[in-house]
């Protein structure tokens, strides 16, 4: 069955709404929202990563930088009214979280554009190394920026009232569901579009793509900017989620590793791969955290990643497709 683009958007918005409403009605345990938020956040991050990594063929190890840039943009906006009041005696209403999310997206999107411009002439492993180095640069800047707490970090007090009824964590959960829906919708729209086919041609062979008229640099820049923007949006609510933001946790290696591992394990060819990978790996890690220890998380991800790369390089989606072909 072929699902048109608009129908797909209607479907995922419906799924997201039902998901949020049903969990509000049936689940009161706060832990569900804390854990669910993380899984949803990974859906956004891995879907965003896959736009550049899966569709365009450029491996980005800098998820942490884009994510943290979103988080710190939000932290700056959070502090802004107090600062304005103290230094200029200007009164400003607190910035609403959705505005912070948009701002985080803009900052990280611009950052994606900038890094893309500087690094996209590099291919393969050199690009990957450049993104890793880039994370270190951004982290160093944040560590030395006193306004947002430097290396000590910064306490963020959540607003007293959460919109949409319910507690603040439920609000964060709803927003992250929305972001997941939007990212998945964007990813699938790209995948089925001419633009997506062009990105695939870049991944397959960049010289051949150029020779066929594909404006590879421009398309790669759009791809990095979009991917970075979605990562920044995923990071913006982080200050209110953790209530204590510091470089060590916001630049955590887990973001980079998971956002690579989830699409690889799920399957990089299609939008559903990162979603499957995020739900699977995200849930396993949340379960491991409560039953054993969070120290095991990266180990689990690492082992699964190696297994998949060696045995099933096309991920779970690839396994299912191969199995279907055999049945047919």
């Amino acid at each position: 069955m072929r699902v048109s683009n608009s129908l797909f958007w209607v479907l995922i918005v419906a799924v997201g709404t039902v998901f949020v409403v049903a969990s509000r009605l049936t689940i009161t345990n706060e832990y569900f929202y804390f854990a669910g938020y993380v899984v949803l956040e990974y859906i956004v991050l891995s879907t965003a990563w896959n736009i550049l990594g899966g569709y365009t063929g450029y491996t980005n190890f800098g998820t942490g930088a884009f994510f943290a840039a979103g988080a710190y943009s939000a932290a700056v906006l959070h502090k802004l009214p107090a600062t304005l009041h103290k230094t200029f005696d200007i009164t400003m209403a607190p910035v609403p979280l959705p505005v912070m999310i948009v701002a985080g997206g803009l900052v990280s999107g611009l950052m994606g554009l900038g890094t893309g411009y500087l690094t996209l002439r590099l291919r393969g492993v050199f690009f990957a190394i450049a993104t890793l180095a880039f994370t270190i640069v951004v982290q160093t800047l944040i560590v030395n920026w006193d306004y947002v707490g430097g290396s000590r970090g910064i306490y963020i007090i959540r607003p007293a009232n959460a919109p949409l009824g319910g507690g603040y964590i439920q609000y964060l959960f709803s927003l992250m569901t929305l972001l997941a829906v939007v990212s998945v919708g964007i990813a699938r729209t790209i995948e089925r579009s001419r633009f997506g086919l062009g990105l695939n041609s870049i991944r397959d062979d960049e010289l051949a793509a150029e020779a066929s008229g594909v404006p590879t640099l421009r398309m790669k820049l759009i791809s990095t900017a979009l991917s970075g923007a979605l990562m920044g949006m995923a990071g913006a609510p982080l200050p209110y989620y953790v209530t204590y933001l510091d470089p060590a946790s916001s630049f955590n290696l887990a973001y980079a590793v998971n956002s690579v591992a989830m699409p690889v394990i799920g399957g990089m060819q299609s939008w559903i791969g990162p979603v499957i990978g995020s739900i699977l790996l995200g849930t396993i890690q949340q379960l491991a955290t409560v039953t054993i220890s969070s120290a095991l998380n990266l180990l689990i991800v690492g082992v699964l990643l190696i297994l998949f790369v060696v045995i099933a390089p096309n991920g779970i989606v690839g396994l299912v497709q191969a199995w279907r072909r055999r049945e047919a």
Binding site: L197, G198, N200, S201, R203, D205, E210, A211, G213
Partner: protein, 249 residues
């Protein structure tokens, strides 16, 4: 052929290309008129592919100028030159591995033909063109297969079909026939001749001399990055310098 008014199709002056200290091309002058079938020959490593790479923008030449239909190509990157009407096949085929053969030729239709025309082709027209392009190289029945299912020979045909899909004015075919059987060579030659009759100027790079000689209206010989002969095919190969280069004294 009657004398053309206006600028030649392609005009190259003093083109030079180095790789580090190694001089791959030096002082290349070349003028191509519309409608020509130019054979480009030379020993391995003489710079034929490098010349194509410089002309189509895959590589950057340090010296010299290139004018195409009177337009200076300096600073134009590969896809811009493709859109102007310069197409090339790669010596080592570079198919889009993850795509069906139809999508392989769809890319140039979407990104060159549609980018060039005021009236974009519809999806149905593009589907039709894809099928047509593949059938010209006898690959129509494999339109939905992937390049990995193809033989080397079919891969070369796909490479050619993808270049032709850009609807070029000038086409560089870089060893489209290596490894092909006699009848397959005839097949490809027929395709190239038909394209030429339709008005596409063709530069054929080829080691198979019988193919080059039967195809070309003019022959250019490169040796060690220098042009040593350029003219009617029979004269060019009888040039003493060419004989020396080919027969090794």
């Amino acid at each position: 052929m009657t004398a053309e008014a206006g600028p030649p199709l392609l005009e190259v002056r003093g083109l030079g290309k180095r790789f580090g200290g190694f001089v791959a091309l030096e002082g290349i002058d070349l003028t191509i008129a519309k409608g020509e079938r130019l054979g480009l020959i030379g020993p391995n490593g003489s710079g034929k592919s490098t010349l194509v790479n410089c002309l189509t923008g895959t590589l950057h030449n340090e010296t010299g100028s290139i004018h195409f239909e009177g337009k200076d190509l300096r600073g134009l990157i590969a896809h811009e030159r493709t859109r102007l009407g310069l197409a090339r096949s790669f010596q080592l085929p570079k198919p889009f591995h993850s795509m069906s053969l139809a999508d392989n030729v769809r890319i140039p239709l979407l990104y060159t033909v549609n980018a060039r025309q005021r009236h974009a082709l519809s999806d149905a027209q593009i589907d039709e063109r894809c099928q047509e392009l593949l059938s010209h190289v006898n690959l129509a029945d494999k339109a939905r297969r992937r390049p990995r299912d193809l033989t080397q020979v079919e891969m070369r045909k796909l490479e050619l079909a993808r270049a032709v899909a850009t609807q070029p004015t000038l086409l560089f075919a870089d060893e489209a026939m290596a490894g092909l059987s006699h009848s397959e060579i005839e097949e490809i030659l027929a395709v190239l001749l038909r394209l030429n009759e339709e008005g596409i100027t063709i530069v054929l790079i080829e080691h198979i001399m019988s193919a080059v000689m039967s195809f070309s209206t003019r022959l250019m010989v490169l040796v060690a990055g220098h042009k040593i002969a350029d003219g009617p095919p029979q004269e060019a190969i009888r040039n003493p310098e060419v004989e020396r280069a080919y027969l090794g004294e």
